[in-house]
């Protein structure tokens, strides 16, 4: 079984923006005293919606709001060239979702690190008043735009990178050299250091070192240093990939094992070349089967570890070998595994024990453990129970404790994961399942070790192998690093409050990432412990020590220096909506397992209300009391907030595992993907042929309400994970024939294999889907949603602007927000 012919390989995503705040034309009221945007786009304006609530009970009259005038994202098509600093000032970065090309002129590429606020409040009080969060989203391996310069590598030789001797911050463009260059002042802690003799250089008339422009570390926001011995506790580890495959009865019978084997077999050709790339493989049911692939044995040797309470590795060597030495053996083995276990009647699956045993085999090097699991782990250490069913039966006793099912059942897997992390083993779990597998418990392992959960539910041997292969291939071929440690430093006055993401934290200051890749984002929140000086700049420096897949130890240093301000309205003006909203999403995801859902929804709504209320109270004119006034930069906050409340993670109905999966995804999601995760993109497919070839490949997204879905239309709605193809009930059979190859979809399976047929429409549909897959770095799982079918209802529930049983319509929500603000104001 292979990937379908039309399975694209996905590379870096394109940079087609589609969510750009739009200026409202109707009913807006200019805000006095507002400065033009620093980057000069958009009118200095504050949208306001005319709305006069009647005093008293007449609440439900939102008809005065013109639904066509309320803020919605608009697509931006032109590419922006962005210089990170202009005229010695930090430039305000373009929206994360827009297409831009960065020139690193001192501050880092915003893809790598961006802040919720582009001006930093001088005091904690201002920040609190604004009700906005102060946080960085760090995505250290974010894919660059193809036209951007690569990050420069700096080798300081034996002496290692120059660092502040007090706070150990790395040399960066904002360190100030004084005294003819003999000393430099750390921009983070303010300490005056002696310049190392080897690094001395005279200053020019402008007070900069004469060599500043030749030295990347003095002129670029992001550089990489070659790590010296002091950064090495051992030789850099080899790139180890260990595949662990469930072969229990269910996995075999659903075709999951075969899919996994085929995916691995195809993907191993994409492993990094060279002698330092090593592989190993094991399978498991109620026992763990290792394979020694040593070359001089004609056949692999199968070694079974039957004790799943107290596991061990059966060999210390020969289980993990350089790929060059065992490729043939491995391929043969992968081919024969599905047959070998064809008649397996063992229903139990010792997931935890198998991971532990594989870990023991990898312990000496560390590396990536890729687990393919198909059923609820039912045996051995770390086995789980069908909590979901128990939860359901308890629902009558009250919903109070429902969120407990979203917490790991016990500490076993967490303890295991901490040990994995300590030995630099990163776990990715591919769940190809037909039933509840307790993702809340399972996801602890990948999220602690820098991996992630991939979820294929319900697994289809027909449509999912292609996605499985593409996910695996991207997993092992994307830019990544091993055995990493990351620390974020900031200027005095601020301190790091917390880190959020998939990592393990042993000391308060650093986070350990057994693996880090281009898809992972770490959120860092800050709090004030002192005042910052107005007109000074506040610096952030992220240092990531890691080993490349080729075994070089490096330090990636990412610098961002932002102006400080005491002016509240500046905070609002320079707020970064998408980053802020990503913060809200992650906070909500964090809260879900520990708080009842209704409370989480309230918290999310309140965050939105408090921000808008603060703006209303402190920045908007008093006269506009009957109007809902939104800060320009944050005008989409209510829409996104509404979308979040209705998202899979926060909606009341839905499967437990779906919610857990959503939580696990959200914790490490990038700014770029966080928005579509809750606020999907919908495009029409049926009329693709009517567009001219000059238009951008992907048509303009449609507003997410049901008025936009015609019965005669076919629509694709995608959130970066799944693609829902909605087919109305009056679609021309000819169109169906063109896209799906059949004239009627009655009885068609919900999981869709999109094939390319020999017609223009089919070609365009495939092009669009492939382009989206490329953008999202994810092979969308396509699902067919038919009108009048439960799948169609589910599709409708994703149209966030609609009024739904579980939530308000967009207009109603705006009314609600406005009312809340008003009641707070009085």
């Amino acid at each position: 079984m292979g990937a379908p012919a039309n399975a694209p390989s996905f590379g870096p995503p394109g940079w087609q923006g589609q969510a750009r705040p739009r200026v409202m034309s109707a009913g807006m009221q200019p805000m006095p005293g507002m400065l033009p945007n620093a980057h000069g786009q958009g009118m200095p304006s504050t949208p306001a919606i005319p709305y006069s609530p009647h005093a008293g009970a007449q609440v439900s009259t939102p008809s005065k709001i013109d639904p066509n005038q309320i803020p919605r994202p608009i697509a931006e098509t032109s590419v922006i060239i962005f210089e990170t600093r202009q005229g010695g000032q930090a430039a305000v970065p373009p929206a994360a979702s827009s297409e831009f090309i960065v020139k690193d002129t001192g501050n880092c590429n915003p893809r790598l690190m961006r802040c919720t606020l582009n001006q930093i409040p001088c005091t904690g009080d201002i920040l609190t008043t604004s009700a906005m969060p102060l946080a960085l989203m760090v995505q250290p391996f974010a894919l660059p735009h193809p036209s951007e310069e690569p990050i420069q590598l700096v080798d300081f030789g034996e002496m290692g990178p120059v660092r502040c001797s007090r706070c150990k911050a790395y040399i960066n463009p904002f360190m100030r050299f004084i005294d003819q260059g003999k000393h430099f002042i750390c921009n983070l802690c303010g300490f005056s250091n002696d310049t190392p003799r080897e690094y001395l250089c005279n200053l020019g008339p402008d007070g900069r070192r004469r060599d500043a422009d030749e030295r990347p570390e003095l002129c670029r926001g992001t550089v990489e240093f070659i790590a010296t011995k002091e950064f090495l506790v051992r030789d850099p580890m080899p790139a180890v990939y260990f595949f662990l495959i469930d072969v229990s009865m269910n996995a075999i019978q659903t075709g999951a094992t075969a899919a996994a084997c085929s995916a691995i077999s195809q993907a191993i050709s994409d492993l990094p070349e060279g002698p330092r790339t090593m592989v190993g493989i094991a399978t498991f049911d109620s026992a763990i089967h290792f394979y020694s692939l040593k070359r001089d044995q004609q056949q692999p040797l199968m070694l079974i570890v039957p004790d799943i309470q107290d596991v061990y590795t059966p060999l210390q060597t020969d289980l993990i070998l350089p790929i060059s030495e065992c490729r043939e053996n491995l391929e043969q083995l992968l081919e024969s595994i599905p047959n070998m276990f064809e008649t397996n009647r063992v229903g139990d699956s010792a997931f935890g024990a198998a991971m532990k045993a594989s870990f023991l085999a990898m312990k000496s090097t560390g590396g990536k453990l890729l687990v393919f699991q198909s059923v609820l782990p039912s045996a051995g250490i770390g086995s789980l129970s069908t909590r979901e069913a128990e939860g359901r039966s308890n629902i009558s006793t009250g919903d109070k404790e429902a969120h407990k099912l979203l917490q790991p059942v016990d500490k076993t897997l967490k303890t295991m994961a901490l040990e994995f992390a300590e030995y630099q083993v990163c776990v990715d779990v591919f769940l190809t399942t037909q039933s509840y597998v307790d993702i809340s418990s399972i996801s602890v392992v990948p999220s602690t070790t820098g991996g992630r959960v991939y979820y294929y539910y319900p697994f289809s041997a027909l449509s999912d192998p292609a996605k499985l292969f593409n996910d695996l291939r991207w997993n092992i071929s994307r830019p990544q690093g091993f055995e990493s440690v990351m620390r974020v430093r900031c200027s005095q006055g601020l301190q790091v409050q917390d880190y959020t993401g998939n990592f393990c934290r042993r000391v308060p200051t650093d986070i350990d990432l057994p693996a880090i890749d281009s898809d992972k984002t770490i959120m860092v929140t800050f709090k004030h412990d002192d005042k910052l000086q107005e007109n000074s700049e506040c610096a952030f420096q992220c240092a990531l020590l890691y080993t490349t897949v080729y075994g070089q130890r490096r330090i990636r240093v990412i610098n961002l220096s932002l102006p400080c301000t005491n002016v509240l309205s500046n905070l609002f003006r320079y707020a970064d909506l998408e980053t802020q909203f990503t913060y809200v999403v992650k906070q909500a995801a964090n809260a879900i397992p520990s708080t009842p859902l209704s409370q989480v929804r309230d918290q999310v709504t309140n965050t939105c209300i408090n921000i808008l209320q603060s703006y209303r109270k402190h920045c908007a004119s008093v006269s506009s009391s009957g109007q809902l006034i939104l800060p320009e930069a944050l005008k989409l906050l209510p829409l996104y907030t509404l979308a979040l409340i209705k998202s899979v993670g926060l909606r009341t109905e839905g499967r437990l595992d779906d919610r857990s999966y959503w939580v696990s995804i959200a914790s490490s999601i990038s700014v770029l993907l966080a928005i579509p995760l809750v606020f999907p993109r919908m495009i029409a497919l049926h009329d693709l042929t009517s567009r001219s070839d000059d238009d951008s490949l992907i048509p303009t997204p449609l507003t997410l309400n049901s008025e936009n879905t015609l019965d005669s239309g076919i629509y694709l709605l995608e959130n970066g994970e799944d693609g829902f193809v909605y087919v109305g009930n009056a679609v021309n059979p000819a169109t169906l024939e063109q896209i799906f190859g059949v004239s009627s979809l009655a009885g068609a399976p919900n999981l869709l294999v999109l094939e390319q047929y020999d017609n223009e429409l089919s070609r365009k549909v495939n092009d669009v889907v492939n382009e989206i897959r490329r953008q999202r770095c994810s092979y969308l799982r396509l699902r067919l949603c038919k009108h009048g079918d439960p799948s169609g209802d589910f599709f409708r529930s994703l149209l966030v602007e609609d009024k739904a049983p579980g939530g308000l319509s967009y207009v109603e929500f705006l009314v609600h927000v406005h009312r809340q603000i008003q009641s707070k104001m009085t």
């Binding site: 089967h289 044995q297 070694l303 079974i304 570890v305 024969s336």
Partner: protein
């Protein structure tokens, strides 16, 4: 002497007292206990195999035999043991004086019964190989080729399993065709039978029965699940060969100052449990090939640090072998399990240092296993012994399985126990004596493994008290013994061998001469050797020399001919005359002088002593010495240093070692190569003769003895000198004759020993 050998040839029994001291007191005075060394499966073509089941006494369950009194008219037989009158059943109705069933023929005191209807189908024997891999490559190479040869010789229908071990235990799944596949168990941890059942997927796809003993196909394990691990040899030859071919040194790293981590105990426990799961109650043997001491998990005998030496006899005596008792206890548990399952543990221990035979002894001996001790897997002692086990020839071992040995005797005789390869079934009966020797407190024993040579020593107790009623039964001055051995024949069927014998008893002082006439001094020596070995192991602070000396003195004063206080008048009847020499040599033997040997060697020697017949035991106690020279043909000579001469070749057979010793002149000629020159054929023949004799001994002995060919004054000559009576030592008054030899020892010579004996006996 000859009459004892005849009796042995017929029934496989030798008794020190063929006329039995008839009362408890008499028996006590006789010093050497009333006992018998019985070889249950002694081959004898005359023994009939009866195609029907035996007829049993309805009272004492003894079997119809030639000593039964039969009333042909009434069709009634009287049991000689309990005097119960039994009716013959219908199918014996045609019985008459002229129409006897075979078991009543007077000459058929030993018969075999083989009733297929009762014994069920033929079951193939099972061989489970357990192979150590913690060895240097060279040794592994030797072992590989030996195993490959053995596999070829396996009977086609026999089932085979394969386990290897080092740091971990690997159970090879021979029935898995696609890849070499094995289950790996941690060496540190003991594995129970339940774990084997569960972890090796014996219940795959089925629910585990909630209660009851689960094992074997009888209890619902599918034949397929068993056939994964135990396959007919003919079906898995290829897989087995490739596993053996790919055998490699245990891959876990060992630092230079450490011993390899070898989990012998766990491996054996896994093997035992696997057999217990798959073939409980049917003949199976674990054949363990071990190349060093166990250092990992239960049953380990020494720590990994090389700085700690392996325990010696001295350590055991002082109690400073911390792991010893724990290991023995562990192997006791294994032996219990194996006995319960009816399985055998064979041990092939090949290493320069000890491997823990002393600890494993209990499991080997109680299951009737074979033990072979050699220095290397390349040594002929190991290689040829292994082959011998599977080779079918006139001298094959006739390995049999799963035996149960039962005994019936006249009511005045009780059984104290058995010293030999068996386990008490704890079936207490009026027959069992309160005094226990060896495996006792029972009248039935399990003999999981037995072969044609396995000989057990039964020690009896005469219960009859002195007194008037002792003399009041002149009609019955016979004791009857019936030995029943129910076993799985090496061809697979179950058989029952019944031996019934009768011995006269005498009571009171009048019987001394009768006793002397019935005294079998070789059997007595063998029994004494087993007894003293047993007591040395079982009794704390036991002084074997003192015990033997006292026994010999009492025996001599009771049966010797002398005038009181006149040592020079002392003489012994020919029936007893060799006995003092046997005891002299027993005192000097490896069984008593343990400090010359390692505990492993001692355990090995004793295990062999406890399973061999009288003739071989005597060779172990007192080696035979044959002289070859131009002057005369081969002739036995005294086991004395004076036997050495420059122009003689000596052939010493001490059972474990055979030494061909060339006198110095012969040695020089041989070195010069005269035997190859024309005209010296006689010399070539002289050289050849002892070699041929040695070969013929080696051919029928198991385990194959070690052959040492040496020259006078050579270093290997110590193998001979150690066994000789030191009549001429370095400080003797009379110097050695020219060409003779002296022994550097302070041990007393036989002459001195005899002088003391005579002096003490006549007191």
């Amino acid at each position: 002497m000859a009459e004892f050998l005849e009796l042995e040839a017929q029934d496989g029994i030798r008794m020190p007292w063929n006329v039995i001291p008839g009362t408890k007191q008499d028996a006590a005075n006789c010093v050497v206990p009333v006992s018998a060394i019985y070889t249950p499966l002694k081959p004898n073509p005359v023994i009939p195999v009866l195609p029907y089941g035996p007829l049993r006494c309805r009272m004492c369950r003894s079997i119809l035999n030639p000593f039964c009194v039969v009333d042909y008219v009434a069709k009634i037989w009287v049991c000689p043991f309990c005097f119960q009158r039994n009716h013959f059943p219908q199918h014996y109705s045609s019985i008459s004086e002229s129409n006897l069933p075979a078991e009543l023929f007077p000459q058929y005191t030993t018969v075999e019964f083989m009733s297929t209807t009762e014994t069920g189908p033929v079951v193939p024997p099972v061989f489970l190989f357990v192979v150590d891999t913690c060895m240097i490559e060279e040794e592994i190479g030797y072992l590989k080729s030996a195993l490959a040869q053995a596999i070829e010789l396996l009977p086609d229908q026999s089932l085979v399993g394969f386990i290897t071990f080092g740091t971990y235990v690997q159970v090879h799944e021979l029935g898995f065709g696609l890849l070499p596949k094995s289950y790996v168990f941690k060496g540190m941890k003991e594995v129970t039978k339940d774990q084997i059942l569960e972890q090796m997927c014996f219940f795959a796809g089925k629910t585990k029965p909630t209660t009851g003993v689960i094992a074997g196909s009888r209890d619902g394990l599918s034949a397929e699940s068993i056939a994964r691990f135990l396959l007919p040899a003919s079906d898995c030859e290829f897989v087995l060969n490739s596993i053996i071919e790919e055998l490699q040194k245990d891959p876990w790293p060992v630092s230079a100052d450490q011993r390899a981590s070898r989990c012998t105990g766990t491996a054996l426990s896994v093997a035992a449990s696997l057999l217990g799961v798959c073939v409980p109650g049917s003949g199976a043997r674990i054949m363990a090939f071990i190349g060093g001491p166990s250092t990992e998990g239960p049953g380990s005998i020494v720590s990994k640090a090389l700085s700690e030496p392996i325990r010696s006899h001295k350590d055991l005596d002082k109690g400073s072998a911390p792991l010893y008792n724990k290991a023995v206890k562990f192997y006791e548990e294994i032996s219990k399990q194996l006995v319960h399952q009816g399985h055998v543990l064979d041990l092939f221990a090949c290493a320069l240092d000890q491997v823990g035979v002393a600890e494993m002894k209990v499991a080997v001996e109680r299951t009737g296993g074979i033990v072979v001790l050699a220095e290397s897997f390349g040594h002929s002692v190991f290689k040829e012994s292994l082959q011998r086990i599977f080779q079918s020839s006139d001298n094959d071992l006739g390995l049999s399985f799963n035996g149960i040995f039962e005994i019936n005797c006249s009511k005045d005789v009780k059984i104290q126990g058995i010293i030999g390869p068996c386990t008490s079934l704890e079936k207490k009966s009026p027959l069992s004596s309160d005094t226990v020797v060896g495996q006792g407190s029972t009248s039935a024993w399990k003999m999981c493994g037995l072969d044609r040579k396995t000989s057990i020593c039964l020690v009896f107790d005469i219960a009859k008290k002195d007194g008037p009623d002792a003399i009041n039964q002149p009609t019955s001055n016979q004791f009857y013994f019936q030995f029943l051995t129910y076993y799985q024949h090496h061809e697979g069927q179950m058989r029952l061998r019944a031996t019934t014998i009768s011995r006269r008893w005498v009571a009171g002082s009048g019987g001394v001469q009768d006793l002397i006439d019935g005294f079998d001094q070789e059997a007595a020596a063998a029994v004494m050797a087993r007894l003293v070995s047993f007591k040395m192991e079982a009794e704390a602070d036991f002084d074997p020399i003192r015990w033997l000396d006292r026994a010999l003195i009492s025996l001599c004063s009771k049966f010797g001919d002398y005038q009181k206080e006149t040592p020079s008048s002392f003489s012994l009847s020919p029936r007893l005359s060799l006995f003092p020499q046997f005891m002299f040599n027993l005192r000097r033997s490896q069984f008593v002088q343990v400090f010359n040997n390692s505990p492993d060697e001692t355990a090995y020697f004793r295990m062999m002593l406890n399973r061999e017949d009288v003739t071989n035991a005597v060779v172990m106690i007192q080696p035979s010495l044959i002289s070859y020279s131009f002057q005369s043909g081969p002739e036995p000579v005294l086991l004395d240093v004076t036997a050495i001469a420059a122009d003689r070749i000596l052939l010493l057979d001490s059972y474990f070692t055979i030494v061909i010793f060339h006198g110095i002149t012969i040695a020089q000629w041989r070195k010069a190569g005269y035997q190859d020159h024309e005209g010296h054929e006689a010399f070539a023949q002289l050289l050849q003769a002892p070699q041929e004799e040695a070969d013929s001994i080696i051919k029928e002995r198991f385990p194959v003895p070690r052959l040492v060919v040496c020259d006078q004054y050579g270093s290997q000559a110590r193998f001979l000198l150690a066994k000789l009576n030191p009549s001429v030592t370095y400080n003797s008054d009379n110097p050695a004759p020219p060409g003779g030899d002296v022994i550097f020892t302070d041990d007393v010579s036989f002459q001195v020993f005899m002088d003391h004996l005579q002096r003490l006996a006549v007191q």
